[in-house]
Symmetry: C2
Subunit: 313 residues, 2 copies
């Protein structure tokens, strides 16, 4: 089937069912508009934006593209009412929600005519999405960067499980940075993919250049799902990571882990480029990424490699 005809392409009115993850500290209007202008769906990452900052990015986004785009809203956001108010008032048409239950905000958004996708890591939540009236689910596997599910289900296993649990279109996330991985996700039954790490390390990403360069050097086994006592998050090895591992291995309490984590670590690492003290969130696929590319080239290569992978079958 042509990618243009997938339910995900049609739902969002996009050329390729390629969604850019709305990652914290990476996903401003430059990255999101570049993705949308290249035929995918760009998402502003509201999780790391104050409401006023999101408002500015929405305005810039509206100037930078006439293609569909959206906003990712983590439902644990402290000022979520203000954020949702901006989303509605400024005419955002697509919202991806994550890190919370789809029950609360879906009907509010749907009543405004907004298309809603929700990120899940198990089929129980996929069913909840369907009940709540969500339009599509993002199923995110263990290999994904950043916050992650407690079941540790990998994308390969998760997509068939989610497909068995819901009739909604499924967008696969976690482990997708090449055309062959994109094709594999579609073979599993996904109708689109959400790509994080590859776009986090693109030229247009707002992540700090020091973070991007550091990621290019990462190899297999350099990321681990960490901080499981608090909320599991996939981190790249650095000095802070070593402290976390050491504490985990000696069975530190949740309170100790919270104290060690402190506040603002992800900003420090990913946005301010403090590679020792910061929290560096990235997926396992970082080991496959060895160049910072512009979004246009990422799309070219992804689609060409996708075609090669499909032709192998």
């Amino acid at each position: 089937m042509a990618l243009q005809n997938s339910r995900v392409s049609k739902l969002f009115d996009i050329k390729y069912p390629v969604i850019q993850g709305g990652m914290v500290w990476c996903s401003g209007w430059r990255l999101a508009s570049a993705v949308s202008n290249n035929g995918g769906l760009g998402l502003l990452g509201a999780g790391s934006m104050h409401p006023e900052v999101l408002s500015e990015h929405v305005t810039k986004m509206q100037q930078a593209t006439d293609k569909p785009w959206g906003v990712n809203v983590p439902l644990l956001y402290p000022e979520i009412d203000r954020l949702m108010d901006i989303v509605v008032k400024k005419g955002v048409r697509i919202v991806f929600t994550s890190a919370g239950s789809p029950g609360k905000w879906t009907s509010f958004l749907k009543n405004q005519g907004i298309t809603v996708a929700h990120v899940v890591s198990n089929s129980r939540f996929a069913k909840k999405c369907e009940e709540a009236g969500v339009d599509a689910v993002v199923a995110e596997g263990f290999e994904a960067g950043g916050h992650n599910g407690r079941e540790e289900t990998t994308t390969m296993t998760l997509i068939p499980l989610i497909k068995n649990s819901t009739s909604l279109p499924v967008i696969a996330a976690g482990g997708i940075a090449t055309g062959s991985q994109f094709a594999a996700a579609m073979a599993l039954g996904a109708e689109g993919v959400q790509i994080g790490s590859l776009f986090a390390l693109s030229q247009e990403s707002s992540a700090h250049e020091a973070f991007k360069s550091y990621c290019l050097k990462a190899v297999e086994g350099d990321t681990f799902l960490s901080l499981k006592q608090l909320a599991p998050v996939r981190l790249l090895r650095n000095k802070f990571f070593d402290l976390v591992r050491e504490a985990e291995q000696r069975g530190a309490s949740a309170d100790e882990m919270r104290a060690l984590l402190g506040k603002g670590r992800a900003k420090k690492g990913m946005f301010e480029g403090e590679l020792d003290e910061g929290e560096l969130e990235i997926g396992q696929v970082v080991a496959l990424i060895d160049e910072i590319k512009p979004v246009a080239r990422i799309f070219e290569e992804l689609l060409a490699d996708y075609a090669v992978a499909v032709s192998r079958l």
Copy 2:
């Protein structure tokens, strides 16, 4: 490409590039011959057999099929010299080695004209395989049951990494129990798949019926990579598993873990059906398996679903 034309099919002279993992306590001559007679490659699991027992199974295997088949040999096997002697003397043509370095035994086996595949979980070992003269590598992801790599790399990420590191044919393992997962593995660049859990829970598997029935009830999040301080192994939740988790969470020492594990736990759980005290090894895909089927039906369904998955692309 037709499955018959993959390099893995040609290497082993089999119809479908579907290898049955040589799992401990599951993989006697009944299972392995059924797989070979249905067009795949059956493997006797020598890891749980005394040398004399293996010898018997080889004889029965030779009577039960005229199709190609092999033996899986974990290289940590205590009496490995005797085992290899039997393999050679009884005319075994294919050996899969695992749990060790491919350096030592590959040339011995190759000198006897035996085809050799080796199981790896990272690209460093895939390169070693190529240097050692191995004919194909099995790349096993984090989601696989039983013993597993330390890097926790999932199949989705691992296959492209392994493909980048070697020109050998790659057999994907971990996360494969349906035709869509088979197709996904091939899209990733694998040229064959090794299937464990699905065959461990087949009618012909020598695992205890109580173990099989218990596995059918498993859902998402019921297996975890455990005993990481010793050798990481994916286990299914049961009473023993709970003790392991509790010990891990309080930061128990490696010695404590060794004492807790004791000896013969896998036999107890999987072969003797002691569901509380035994170690139950199975992959994440257990959540997708809800019926004990004969191998013939497993092949029918796998191939039909594979065709459906490919036609979606």
